[in-house]
């Protein structure tokens, strides 16, 4: 702690990241912090980044700043060459098995058939066959017990195969239990921007052209973190210890050491030592071969060496941030706030300026960790997965998007909503109109589904008309008498049926009763079969059908409508978020105005044009049609 008191007074030395200085050399000077971020800045989401198909888990920036890499939870790798603004996919995700709808339907029908057979057996044989009945009952109970009522039928009818497929996919992605995003990492070599590594659920991937093209180099293990060492050596933390590459990631070796079996979350090097934060505690080594534990065996999720104090570093633990000033001989808890679920620590600009981040947002300390302040203004998604520091300022990847810190006015902090200046009423009307248009496009309108409540009040109407003509002539030879009978008639019947209509419409119409003898002549096998089916079910149905991945039976329209409505509603929220983000970004750009430089002005115009195009695509062109200030 004595070192901490000197931090604000003395500018101390700082090492270059990832490189160990000669032992005994004085630390380089580190500038003092001018002002902490939490008092003047808020997070602003980078436009367009919230439309990723999967959650973000890791982000990295090349040392020269020319390229960024983003790893999604499904293994998709994205690359940006414009400062993490727009992204292009450079590596496909781990493919999820496509759900075979036809197979699902067949399974559903098979299940329904078995259930019907079983019900018939039960009705005819009583409860003698108790074992089968119990199996069916258990299946039903477990489905209903585990799922919401809306989901229960589909789980019951889809059976286990689809669930197993999903589990297999999850297991593939979640190999080594890495689904929470702490087991997937993408990384640029700090000394060679052309080399990049990515640890995915299916192994370790490497790029030698700055992340444009990738090849798998190690299918035996993935990686959770990386650290460059001198001489082309790279350390990789995995879910089962450390692996070493002697040739910049082309080959990997798993040496037996004390970290074996430990899930390594973070690596750092300083003062000729390497530190590894793992679920078995903090390890250190001077040669990357022999490791020893520092402190207790409690999980450590991140380690960050203090460039201004030799032997000082911070450690993120389940209990919060810990600090040592004596190379791990003793640890002291930092701050009085509860900072749960920390994932990482990042050094920001200025001496003692540290960012602690995790599933509960970001915390900033400008005094070496003695006090912490929440850095949450504007951050709608608190699940920080990665932080990249650019010129001393953090760029954060949350589970849904990329966020940057930008200055905000103090007045704006009071009002909720975007960081942009107060929005006038007409502009708010425009935004509301755009959101309404975007969320009520054909296919997203929920009014049709809401019409389901009127369905019981509308009848099924059946009209039947028949006409017949008959001629019969009987001649008796013995008596010499001939009788002739002519019949001519017609009939009309109309029926209205409300509700299920099982009994009413299932019976033959009166018209058919009246001339049933004649109707027999018109009967044919196909009609008889169809009517027999109709009699049994009350109305012609198509039995089972699939919506999404769910199988529904007859009379399940309310259930199907509820699930579809939920799906539509979720997407509407996503669309509304996209529209608001794009619209807010337009306002922000318009308020900021173009930069003075030609290049900046061109970029400004292109950004406005791109945002306008995005608003148009969500509003079917309504944004451009409206007289909103148009980008060139």
């Amino acid at each position: 702690m004595a070192g901490l008191l000197l931090l604000a007074l003395v500018a101390l030395a700082q090492d270059a990241p990832g490189a160990a200085p000669p032992p005994g050399a004085p630390p380089p000077l580190v500038p003092l912090l001018e002002a902490p971020f939490h008092s003047t800045e808020g997070w602003v989401e980078e436009r367009g980044t919230s439309s990723f198909q999967s959650r973000l888990v890791s982000m990295s920036r090349s040392a020269d700043g020319g390229a960024w890499l983003l790893l999604l939870e499904d293994g998709t790798l994205l690359r940006s060459i414009d400062g993490a603004r727009t992204w292009s996919r450079v590596l496909r995700g781990i493919e999820a098995a496509e759900l075979d709808e036809e197979q699902l339907l067949l399974e559903g029908e098979s299940y329904a058939g078995e259930a019907a057979d079983e019900a018939a057996e039960t009705s005819t044989e009583g409860l003698d066959d108790s074992s089968d009945s119990e199996d069916y009952a258990e299946g039903s109970q477990s489905s209903e017990g585990e799922a919401t009522p809306a989901e229960a039928p589909s789980e019951a009818s889809t059976g286990g195969e689809a669930a197993i497929d999903a589990q297999d996919i999850d297991a593939l992605v979640d190999r080594d239990g890495e689904l929470d995003g702490m087991g997937l990492a993408v990384w640029f070599h700090p000394a060679d921007p052309s080399i990049a590594l990515a640890g995915r659920g299916d192994g370790l991937w490497r790029s030698v052209d700055g992340g444009m093209h990738w090849a798998m180099v190690d299918a035996d293990a993935s990686a959770t973190c990386f650290l460059a060492m001198p001489g082309g050596v790279i350390l990789a933390g995995t879910a089962r210890g450390l692996r070493t590459s002697p040739d910049n990631g082309a080959r990997w070796i798993d040496a037996v050491d004390a970290t074996d079996g430990a899930r390594v979350y973070a690596l750092d090097s300083r003062w000729g030592r390497v530190f590894a934060a793992s679920d078995r505690g903090l390890f250190t080594s001077e040669d990357t071969l022999r490791w020893r534990r520092l402190g207790a065996a409690d999980p450590a999720y991140a380690v960050l060496s203090d460039p201004g104090w030799e032997g000082g570093f911070w450690v993120a633990t389940a209990a919060g941030v810990m600090r040592t000033d004596d190379m791990g001989q003793s640890f002291l808890p930092m701050g009085r706030q509860s900072m749960p679920e920390l994932r990482g620590l990042s050094a920001l600009s200025g001496q003692g300026h540290v960012l602690a981040w995790g599933d509960d947002g970001a915390w900033e300390s400008s005094d070496g960790g003695v006090t912490w302040h929440s850095l949450a203004y504007g951050l709608r998604d608190p699940h920080l997965r990665a932080v990249v520091v650019v010129d001393g300022r953090p760029v954060a990847a949350t589970s849904t998007g990329v966020w940057r810190l930008q200055p905000v006015r103090l007045g704006a902090r009071i009002a909720p909503g975007p960081v942009a200046p107060a929005v006038e009423a007409s502009a708010q009307d425009q935004l509301a109109t755009l959101v309404r248009v975007a969320t009520t496009r054909a296919g997203l309108d929920l009014d049709t589904l809401h019409g389901l409540r009127w369905r019981p009040f509308l009848p099924t109407v059946q009209l039947a008309a028949g006409a017949w003509q008959g001629l019969s002539r009987d001649s008796a030879y013995l008596t010499g008498q001939t009788d002739q009978d002519e019949q001519l008639g017609w009939s009309f019947t109309a029926k209205l049926c409300f509700g299920g209509c099982v009994s009413l419409l299932g019976s033959a119409s009166e018209v058919e009763d009246d001339y049933s003898d004649y109707a027999e002549a018109a009967a044919y096998d196909g009609e008889e079969s169809a009517e027999a089916h109709e009699d049994a079910t009350g109305e012609a149905t198509d039995d089972l059908y699939v919506i999404g991945n769910e199988v529904y039976g007859e009379n399940a329209e309310p259930l199907a409508a509820a699930n579809v409505a939920q799906k539509v509603r979720n997407y509407r929220f996503s669309v509304a978020d996209q529209v608001v983000s794009a619209w807010t970004a337009v306002r922000r750009l318009q308020d900021a105005g173009p930069p003075e430089s030609l290049r900046g002005s061109v970029d400004h115009m292109l950004q406005l044009a791109e945002l306008s195009a995005r608003l148009d695509l969500y509003t079917d062109g309504a944004y451009s049609r409206a007289s909103i200030p148009e980008s060139p």
């Binding site: 017949w468 008959g470 919506i547 030609l598 115009m605 695509l617 079917d620 062109g621």
Partner: protein, 221 residues
């Protein structure tokens, strides 16, 4: 081969510098002959067949289908011919004949007994026509078909948004790269080759979304 292609690409670059442009409008005017983002959107929509008019038409069709009745027409024709035969004992024949006033001998009666005798004929001709119409008016407001259609329509909207998002992203990434190449023509050769390859890749990706129409709409194509 790749090197040769790259060199050819680089040699075909327009040579300009920032000093030649006085405003951002002039810079972007360099690409005025290329399709606008709206035109590329239209190309992608047409190629992917995800235009909202398709969704509208499908939704209306699924709803209008319930307004039409389920119609059944049946016609039946029966032509029956019936002949009756009888068997008689000699006594019954004698009695019958006696009633008619004609007296047969016992031998004649025995010879005509037992039959079979054709006693009667009947002809039966029937025509029947049945018309049944059934409207399920409750399906006008909702049916499983409509629910399925709404679900499919939502998937199509998602697909359309995704396609247009990707097209927009690719279009402007390509445009930024074009601007970069236009304003910084004297960069390192390796980087220029890499940028040109990236430009070709982005063009190809836009072609993939538009069925090649983007390239066709570019000048000098």
């Amino acid at each position: 081969m790749i090197l040769a292609l790259s060199l050819a690409l680089v040699s075909s670059l327009p040579v300009a510098s920032a000093a030649e442009f006085s405003s951002p409008e002039e810079v972007l005017a360099s690409f005025k002959n290329e399709p606008s983002i709206g035109e590329v959107h239209a190309m992608a929509l047409d190629y992917s067949k995800t235009d909202s008019r398709y969704v509208d038409a499908w939704l209306k069709a699924s709803k209008a289908a319930a307004a039409l009745p389920r119609l059944e027409l049946a016609y039946g024709y029966k032509n029956g011919f019936d002949t009756d035969y009888g068997y008689y004992t000699p006594e019954e024949i004698s009695d019958d004949v006696a009633e008619d006033g004609e007296v047969l001998t016992e031998d004649d009666a025995s010879a005509q007994a037992y039959g079979p005798f054709e006693t009667a004929q009947a002809v039966d001709i029937d025509h029947a026509a049945i018309v049944k119409a059934r409207w399920e008016l409750n399906k006008l407001v909702m049916s499983s078909d409509q629910i399925r259609m709404i679900s499919e329509a939502q998937d199509i909207v998602k697909l359309r948004d995704k396609v247009l998002e990707d097209v927009t992203r690719l279009y402007f990434e390509r445009r930024r790269l074009q601007v970069e190449l236009l304003l910084n023509p004297s960069g390192e050769m390796k980087k220029r080759i890499s940028d040109q390859l990236r430009l070709a890749e982005l063009t190809a990706q836009l072609d993939a979304f538009t069925g090649g129409r983007f390239s066709q709409a570019l000048p000098n194509k």
